[in-house]
């Protein structure tokens, strides 16, 4: 079990002067997990990532990567990390191949294996045709790909990507998602993003950070559970007697919306859909639409990050 624990962050804080950029954050990441890091701007996502990758020393707390303490054995710990910062660290005067070779050498890949490592990283990031091009002449999307290739070239156990899909086209975004899935089979992936659907589609664990504090740490399944709806949205072509709906088992209330739809609120676990449909057919109401509404991750995100401080503490 301890073998699978790749990242351990233990009550880490980071202060810039009096400002607590990250305040007492703890979490762990296992092998085979994709952890999505969410938060509004300036919430401490990047600071946390910089601390995990050894770019920034935490004011207090400990970080362990694959069992190596980042402060006591920085070299061993850093060897297990591949990091793509917000702005990819590229040497514009190099070609893609030269740059990746340099990165491979930096990560102490033996000379004989460098060509293979470079080839594999390029294939995974869709760079096979770009090897001889100067990085300075590449478009933003391609530079991003080179940045990702750099992060995975030494097959690190932990891959940390800060907004990996920024500046990419939709096809490429999908490829990156597949790549992240692929990586997660043997590695642990931490990625930060502000694109919420991306978290839902590619992560299996979600953390929301706000003002330096973790306000949510849950698996996607748990999150879906939390977002379980208790609302139905209905549209009828004929007039409807709402009191009859309200008499159904489990229904709490109904509401007529401006656009002519009805919203039916019911108690969790007592889905009245079947009874409702039967009622509508029997009375010739002309049911046209029936949509179970879900609270989106977006709603959840807003709810968690918008409320005031006392509530934020209560949620933890």
């Amino acid at each position: 079990m301890s073998n699978n624990l790749l990242v351990e962050v233990d009550s880490v804080s980071r202060y810039f002067g009096d400002l607590a950029a990250v305040n007492d954050v703890s979490f762990t990441v296992n092998k085979g997990t994709v952890l999505g890091f969410l938060g509004p701007n300036g919430a401490g996502k990047t600071t946390t990532m910089q601390m995990i990758t050894g770019n920034l020393a935490p004011t207090s707390g400990r970080i362990k990567i694959a069992g190596y303490d980042l402060l006591d054995e920085p070299r061993a710990a850093k060897a297990c990390i591949g990091y793509l910062p917000e702005q990819p660290p590229l040497y514009l005067e190099y070609t893609v191949d030269e740059y990746l070779d340099f990165c491979a050498a930096l990560n102490r890949i033996p000379k004989k294996q460098r060509l293979g490592a470079r080839q594999q990283a390029k294939e995974r990031c869709g760079l096979t045709d770009a090897g001889r091009r100067l990085i300075g002449n590449l478009s933003k999307g391609y530079r991003q790909r080179v940045g990702i290739a750099q992060a995975i070239i030494h097959q690190p156990q932990v891959v940390i990507l800060d907004e990996p899909t920024a500046g990419l086209d939709p096809i490429q975004i999908r490829e990156i998602r597949t790549l992240v899935r692929e990586l997660s089979q043997e590695h642990a992936v931490i990625l930060s993003t502000h694109i919420l659907p991306e978290v839902q589609s590619s992560c299996d664990h979600v953390q929301i950070i706000d003002r330096g504090k973790l306000v949510l740490n849950d698996s996607i399944d748990g999150l879906t559970q939390r977002m379980q709806s208790s609302t139905l949205s209905l549209r009828f072509s004929n007039s409807v007697d709402t009191s009859r709906i309200e008499q159904l088992n489990g229904v709490r209330s109904t509401r007529l919306l401006d656009d002519g739809r009805y919203q039916v609120y019911y108690q969790a676990g007592q889905d009245p859909t079947d009874a409702l449909v039967k009622l509508a057919v029997d009375n010739h109401w002309g049911l046209r639409e029936l949509i179970p509404e879900k609270a989106s991750l977006e709603d959840m995100f807003l709810e968690l990050t918008k409320h005031d401080k006392t509530q934020a503490e209560a949620t933890i």
Partner: protein, 248 residues
């Protein structure tokens, strides 16, 4: 690992026109000065021969060429060292080095070695000029070697100062200007101040320790002075990079 970093420095220097321009300009200037010194020697040659203890080609031409080279390179080295760390910091590529399994010492030593190699090329090209005199005369190789070693140590100290200045800022121009300031100050230190305090200041003048080398005197105290100076600035640079990680 240090060599990987050094090699990258050398490569990116020669990938940009800067290195070539610097080599060209230094070589042109030194060529002009060298010819002047040779000319000067030719005009006073007859009088030199009649002196009791004749001073030779090495004393006049070699010492003067190495002396001039020190001043010209004092102006040029800041331009080479300015971008070492500051540019990487500005382009955010320093992150790549920080996240790689490298110690700060390795990063600094790698960069320093890269610069040293470039300066050795400059030094070698400058030394070729006096050596060309071998075609028509003979040189005092002891004095030549001493001058060569002196200039090498001096350049290595310039580079260490420049590297440190580059770790302080993310703007290459600021790094260049402050390196200029430091080096020029160290040059003129011996002209200011009288008495004991003046002597102490003069002792820290970089060029004061260079003069004996030009005369063919190898004083280990002078050599140690340079080595200590280089070590000090390299250690300071390492600490400065560490502070990047710790500071806020």
């Amino acid at each position: 690992m240090i060599f990987t970093l050094a090699w990258r420095e050398i490569r990116s220097m020669f990938l940009s026109p800067l290195a070539w321009v610097i080599l060209g300009v230094v070589q042109a200037l030194m060529g002009w000065l060298f010819l002047n010194h040779v000319d000067n020697y030719m005009s006073i040659q007859s009088r030199l021969l009649s002196m009791q203890t004749p001073i030779g080609l090495t004393d006049i031409v070699v010492a003067s060429v190495f002396g001039n080279a020190a001043i010209i390179l004092l102006l040029v080295v800041p331009l080479i060292t300015m971008r070492l760390v500051s540019e990487e910091r500005r382009n955010r590529t320093l992150t790549l080095l920080y996240s790689a399994p490298l110690s700060m010492t390795e990063i600094i030593l790698g960069k320093y070695l890269g610069i040293l190699f470039f300066l050795l090329v400059v030094l070698f090209l400058v030394a070729l000029m006096p050596l060309s005199l071998l075609a028509g005369g003979s040189l005092d190789f002891g004095a030549f070697a001493s001058g060569f070693l002196g200039l090498a140590l001096l350049l290595a100290s310039f580079a260490a100062v420049g590297l440190f200045m580059s770790t302080l800022t993310q703007n290459p121009t600021i790094a260049a200007v402050s390196t200029f300031g430091m080096l020029l100050l160290s040059w003129v230190l011996d002209t200011g101040g009288q008495g004991a305090s003046g002597n102490v200041l003069a002792y820290f003048s970089l060029l004061n320790h260079y003069e004996p080398f030009l005369k063919g005197v190898f004083d280990s105290a002078d050599a140690v002075f340079y080595v200590l100076l280089i070590t000090t600035f390299l250690v300071l640079s390492t600490r400065r990079l560490d502070a990047d990680r710790l500071g806020g």
